[in-house]
Each structure stands twice: as structure tokens, then as C-alpha cells.
Amino acid sequence: MRTVAALTGTLLLLLGSLTAWAADSPPRSVTSQGMASSEVDAGESRFEINAATDDSNATVKIGRTRSVGPGLPGHRSYFDTLTASATAPLAKGGGSTSLATNAGFPDAFTVTGKYSRLTVMRRIVDPADPKLKSIREEMQANALAEGVSADDVKDLVCDSGNVATYAASRLDEFDALFWDDSKPTIIWGGSGTVGRRDFEFLQDDLNKQSQSKTPWGFSAFAAVIPPTTETLLTAGVAYRRQWKDADETTLCPASGTSASITCKSGPGAAPIEATQKIAFAEWRHAFKKRAVSLKIEYDFENKLLAAGLPIYLLPSGDSGLGGGIRIDWVEAKGASFGVFVSKVFSLFPE
């Protein structure tokens, strides 16, 4: 709890930048047909605060989103997400990583800012389009035929979910009224992280010395969901400057007259710098009842190639797939196999 409270306090310092990002303005007024400019509207400023823990970290995150509709001449729509998070380690040396080269900033207190923009091409729906009425009537008729009461059918909202349930053969036709399915979904973004990690190591006189380091890094990515697929293709880069403990050693005092001596074990030198310069590519695909993700990374600094292949096999709650098996491979170390149970599959970048 104290850890979460400290993280929350840190994040409150970041609220000013998020507030400035949400400019206030009067409500838009619709006076004529045609597309309006995409100014940011007024509204009560709200921030979402989430706290979560896993085996090795406690994280508090605040986020802000902005939905911007199409402007002339195209029907391109944007959705922006800005988040700030603070992470503190709960257990030093803990935490599983999916790839050896993608360990993040283990055992460090870090603050991260992330931004992403998702872009799609939508269609402007004509209320008079006869297809809307036709599909809605078919959906309602089929729902009645399947035993849904007349009152419930009347309240049945005409959306993709209910069309998929009661008029599945027309789902593609329905979606085509709202989306330009010939265009992909494009997502891009980046993040920056700065942190603090404390180290202790042994000196020759067996005394322990403390030293603090400031790990930092940044990343950028671009992703695309090709038209009419449930596949995400991502490419990106990441730079991390961090430190790790020197090799463990055991030091004993010089021989004296005592019958016994006490030795000490620990890192035998000051922390070692461990910089990473990573390029990665990832393919994610959702099958009907399975999902798979293949990620390949190359660390140019350490000349290390690695790959990870989680295969999602088990359902998680009433939506999504969580749990399965994974294969990881690191150059010069070979492959390792494992199972995971708590990570839910998402088609979208994390």
C-alpha cells in the first residue's frame, strides 16, 4: 500500500501536462451538413488512475484519451492516448521477461510517459440509407423468430454485436456502412522512461558501498492492421541505458588468529553499464479460438538476436484468450519452453 501511495503521489506531479493537453472550449454547434473541423471540445477533465501488481512490480498509471472525428476531405479519424505510469519493484531479482533482450528496467523505480495515435478511415453514415433499415428489420425479424420477446426486440440496438447474433450473413454489409474496409488501421507511438536504481557492492575491506544510477530509455513503434484481417504487424526501436550488478563474489578477511572467519558475498565491483539498442518486429494473429504472437528482436549494442512465440490456448473470462505455452529463443543460449496463465491476448500494441 505504501508503495502504491508513493507512486500515486509521483504521478500527481504529472497531471499538469495531461491537463494542458485537454484544452477547454465551448461545445461544437452543428448548423449545416458537411464535416466540421476537429477541434477539441469542452468537458469535465477526468483522469483514469489504475494500480496493479504482478509478481515483481507495482504500477500506477494515469491516462487521457481524445477522440477526433473525420475532417474534409477524407474520413480519417484519430484516437489519441497519453499515459503516465510509475513502477516500483516489489522483489529484487524477480520478474519474468518474455525475451532476454526485452527486460525493460528490472529492479528499478521508473516513470514512463507514452503516447499513441490510432488512425482509421470511417464512412459518414447517411441516416436515409435503405440498407440501415433493411438490416435492422432483418435483425429484428430473426430475433423474434428465435424467441426474443417483442418488447426486447424493440429495445434491441442495431449494432455489429446484435447483427452478428441475429443476421450474421449481413455483418460485413453492415460494417461497410461505417468503415472503409479497404483501408488499414494504423497505430504509431512512442515512450520515454527515466528511473532510479540503487546498488550495493562489496569493497576490498568487506564493507558495502551504495551507489544510485539513473536508467533511462525511449522507444518508438508503428503498427498496421491490414484490411479485413485480424493481424497486427508492428516494427519499432528501443534504446535503454541501464546498469546491472557486477558478478557475485565472496570475500573473506585476511587470515588472523580467530578460529573462524566470516565471509561476505555480493557483487564484487561497482554496477556495470548495460546499454541496449534494439530493433524489433512483431506479428500477432487472432484465429477463431487461438491466438499467436511472434516477436523478433535484435540488440545492435550487444549483437544479440532473440525471438519469442507465445501461443494462446485458453479462454480468459467471457472475452479474450489468456494462458498458453510459449517458446523463447536467444542466440547462443538456445530455446526455452514455458507456460503462462495470466497474460490476456490483445491484438493491439501494449
Partner: protein, 94 residues
């Protein structure tokens, strides 16, 4: 013609990544969860929504004029094996 301002609240969960709503072919800019738009007081209006996310992702929309709810979508869900969903609903301000 007299106008009224509709205030919208949009809530997303279970993997919804992005959403957009529009009234009468005009997008409503949403900041965080809220946005608003002015419309003619008389006549029928149409709310349209579109959202992207993982299958099973849910969106809920509430439109109010003052304290009165004029349009509500309690839950719209992304169907299985899809990453986007959309819908429409007609309403008036009376």
C-alpha cells in the same frame, strides 16, 4: 431554430482501444470520456458509433440534455473474431 446541447459520456472496457461517435453525420469530439454537441431541438436525430478493440470489447454511451437522458446505448460489443464494431440509434429530444 432553437438548439439544445447534448452532453455525451462514453465508457469503454474489456480491450476497447479507440472509439468515435457522431450525431446527424457530425462527429462529437470526445476528450477522455466526455464531449458535447449542439443540435436542433426539433426533429429526429441519429447517434452513430464506431469503435476498435479486441473481441468482446464493450462500449456504453449516454447522451443527456440537462438532467434528462435523451439517448442511451447500454452496451455495444465487438463480435467474436472481429476487431471493430459500430451501430446506430435514432432518438429525439422530447
Amino acid at each position: 431554430m432553437a438548439k439544445k446541447t447534448i452532453s455525451f459520456k462514453v465508457e469503454k472496457k474489456d480491450g476497447v482501444q479507440a472509439f468515435w461517435i457522431a450525431v446527424n453525420q457530425h462527429d462529437v469530439p470526445i476528450n477522455g470520456e466526455q464531449g458535447s454537441i449542439s443540435v436542433d431541438e426539433a426533429g429526429d436525430h441519429m447517434l452513430v458509433w464506431a469503435f476498435e478493440g479486441d473481441s468482446g470489447g464493450k462500449l456504453a454511451i449516454t447522451g443527456t440534455v440537462g438532467a434528462k437522458t435523451v439517448v442511451e446505448v447500454k452496451q455495444s460489443v465487438i463480435p467474436p473474431n472481429r476487431h471493430r464494431a459500430s451501430g446506430f440509434k435514432s432518438f429525439d429530444l422530447n
